[in-house]
Amino acid sequence: MRIVCPFCGERELGEYTYLGDAKPQRPAADAGEDAVYDYVYLRDNIAGVMSEHWYHGGGCRAWLKVTRNTLTHEISAVEPTAGAGAAKVGV
């Protein structure tokens, strides 16, 4: 698998580590146990196109949002997460 890092260009799978589904959002501090349980444990586990968190730890250390098909491994989009490249926020 090759992932096109938006900062570095196309790189080999070995430079990246995988976290998982990017859809679950960390609940607010007061959301309660059920909401956090859902965030930490439950997964849609999509068979198809999924948005995922990958870390380019063997490269520029950016966390990326990768849109990938879990049936074919085809990658259709890669974008930086909110805090990757934050120095350009507001520019």
């Binding site: 900062f7 080999e12 063997g58 490269g59 520029c60 120095a87």
Partner: protein
């Protein structure tokens, strides 16, 4: 009070043996360690990319790279190392963290990496062949021309690789983490041995 000497010792001090290595005949690969340098990581603060760029321009006379490139100035090389960040590589004492701190005050955070890396220059007719055993990135001159840089990995270890000015042939520079340096050095020698290697070290950046 006792007299103390504060010798600096490169992480390759023991492993590097000057001279030929591997196959005899004309060396296909030259490996030269450069030992005396300052290396400062500059990380723009949130929303401060423009200010950081301005400060860099003022200090170095060139724009700091915003994409994977290495930009040479008269006394420093600015090497992209990730989004919002670059490394300032210079001859020891030129652009120290103390010297750069006021330049980037308020716009960027600085981290001294001068002792965190070993710097190796790789050249020779077979340099690309040897590097192909270590690096998964495409070093074809059309894809990785003079001035190209990459934050990448070799042997599962993070490195910074760039192509500086050619000296008759392509010259690649490699920054590797100090504690991995000896290991990666040995791996590099293994990769290059079949082409014949000329090993050297130099005090300063050429």
């Amino acid at each position: 009070m006792a007299e103390f000497s504060w010798d600096v010792r490169s992480p390759l001090d023991r492993a590097l043996v000057v001279g030929p290595y591997g196959s005899t005949g004309d060396a296909g690969v030259s490996l030269t360690e450069i030992r005396n340098f300052d290396l400062i990581q500059v990380m723009a603060r949130r929303g401060k990319a423009a200010e950081t760029a301005k400060a860099a321009k003022a200090r170095f006379g060139v724009a700091a790279p915003e994409t994977p490139k290495a930009v040479g100035t008269t006394d420093a090389t600015l090497i992209w190392s990730g989004p919002d960040q670059f490394l300032v590589l210079s001859k020891g004492g030129k652009h120290t963290i103390e010297a750069l701190a006021p330049v980037f005050a308020g716009s960027a955070s600085l981290s001294d990496q001068s002792h965190a890396r070993a710097l190796i220059s790789i050249s020779g007719a077979k340099a690309r062949m040897a590097l192909a055993k270590l690096s998964s990135i495409d070093l074809h001159p059309d894809v990785f021309p003079v001035g190209a840089a990459a934050a990448t990995s070799m042997d599962h270890t993070s490195v910074t690789l760039w192509r500086g000015r050619d000296r008759a042939e392509a010259v690649f520079s490699l920054l590797v983490f100090a504690t991995f340096a000896e290991s990666l050095w040995n791996t590099t020698l293994d990769a290059a041995a079949e082409y014949g290697v000329a090993i050297a070290h130099a005090a300063d950046l050429g």
